[in-house]
Amino acid sequence: MSVKYGILTLLFLQKNHGYELKLELESHLGAKGKINPGQIYTTLDRLIRDQLVLSIGMDDQERKLYEITMEGKKELENWLLEPVPYHSTKEDFHFKWSCARKIDFEQEKKMLDQQKAMIMKDVMELTKFKTEFLLQGDENRYLLITGTLLHLEADLNWINQIENRNRL
């Protein structure tokens, strides 16, 4: 999960303070385990430095309030629309999709189509390797790829399920 984009998602909805962002991230976006408060504040500092977030003063309980900028919204939108490669362990499409749903992202269909295309490309490429390994008698690699392909297939079925339900 990316704390950076989690924060941008929550600030897209409304201005907020650091502690609430931490709690929201933990409860709504499927973050695994607790998030270290230090991680929230260092990420917010970086977001302010990069002009994606503004610090707009204090709330009535003297907590620092943060607001997303136009650049921040654009950054979030670009990230949402970027398909997630399977081999990337840094990002997770499930998390990204949760962020999109949270903000009622208008381009959800495009996002799903692009992710589907990326999965299909991966499947075609890996199937080619799988066949080669099978012909070479490389049983271990053949089984490794088979496992990866089953994960990709599950991801694709999940996206199809979302699309089917969106049509209802």
Partner: protein
């Protein structure tokens, strides 16, 4: 090699008109392995029927090997089909009481009697689909996977330039499906046969070079395998 232009197909039943294919273009290169995917009713099987000359479009052109199927008479289409097209179906469509050899030879009878050379082709095909020694066995005594192998051999007996497969592994388990798909892609590589396969299964579609996604009678997305650089990347990833 296959050019489809503004392809439309409408079915009329009583007062009701159903437009299954709504007008699209498609080019398929010689020797390409293409998978056609899409939800039920999206028009993918209809496309296969039209490409195989089993039905005619309401509008548009299908050009295979420089011959326009849309301009042919029914008889001309039948001759064209026998010469250039091979079919593989989900339910094999074998003649159950005939032997394996007789099933494979069936398309040859339409062109006249069996010659020694044609008999030799059947023996070679039996071997290449992994059914050596089973030629005399009755088709309905074979397993599903073996029956599909017979169907593949039958589809290839005329050495067609285009092989059309409609859910060829739909009735098979994963292991058998993988064997059949491996066989189909081997013929694609070795004989440069163009393959167009309709499937709902990404596992099967993964064997293709290109996936065409159909939706509501038109092409929704076309997805090609990545270039060589990506192939190297994946290879490293798997290492």
């Amino acid at each position: 090699m296959i050019k489809v232009r503004n392809l439309k197909k409408e079915f009329i039943q009583g007062q009701e008109r159903t437009q299954v294919l709504k007008g699209f273009d498609l080019n398929i290169e010689e020797g390409e392995f293409v998978a056609v995917m899409g939800p039920s009713g999206s028009g993918k099987s209809t496309l296969l029927q039209l490409l195989g000359g089993l039905d005619v479009p309401t509008e548009g052109d299908i050009v295979i090997n420089q011959s326009n199927l849309s301009n042919m008479t029914e008889k001309e289409r039948t001759i064209f089909r026998r010469k250039y097209i091979g079919f593989i179906f989900q339910n094999y469509q074998l003649l159950p009481t005939l032997s394996v050899e007789e099933n494979i030879a069936f398309p040859l009878h339409a062109d006249g009697s069996l010659t020694k050379k044609k008999n030799q082709i059947i023996i070679e095909l039996l071997d290449s689909v992994g059914l050596k020694g089973l030629g005399r066995k009755r088709a309905n005594l074979l397993s599903g996977g073996q029956q599909q192998r017979v169907a593949i051999a039958r589809a290839l007996v005329n050495n067609p330039s285009v092989l059309l497969a409609d859910e060829p592994t739909g009735n098979l388990d994963r292991g058998k499906a993988e064997e059949i798909l491996g066989l189909i892609s081997r013929f694609n590589r070795e004989n440069n046969q163009t393959i167009i396969m309709v499937t709902h299964d990404i596992f099967a579609a993964g064997f293709a070079d290109r996936i065409i996604l159909f939706k509501d009678g038109v092409i929704d997305q076309v997805i090609s395998r990545k270039g060589d650089d990506y192939a190297k990347y994946v290879a490293n990833f798997m290492a």
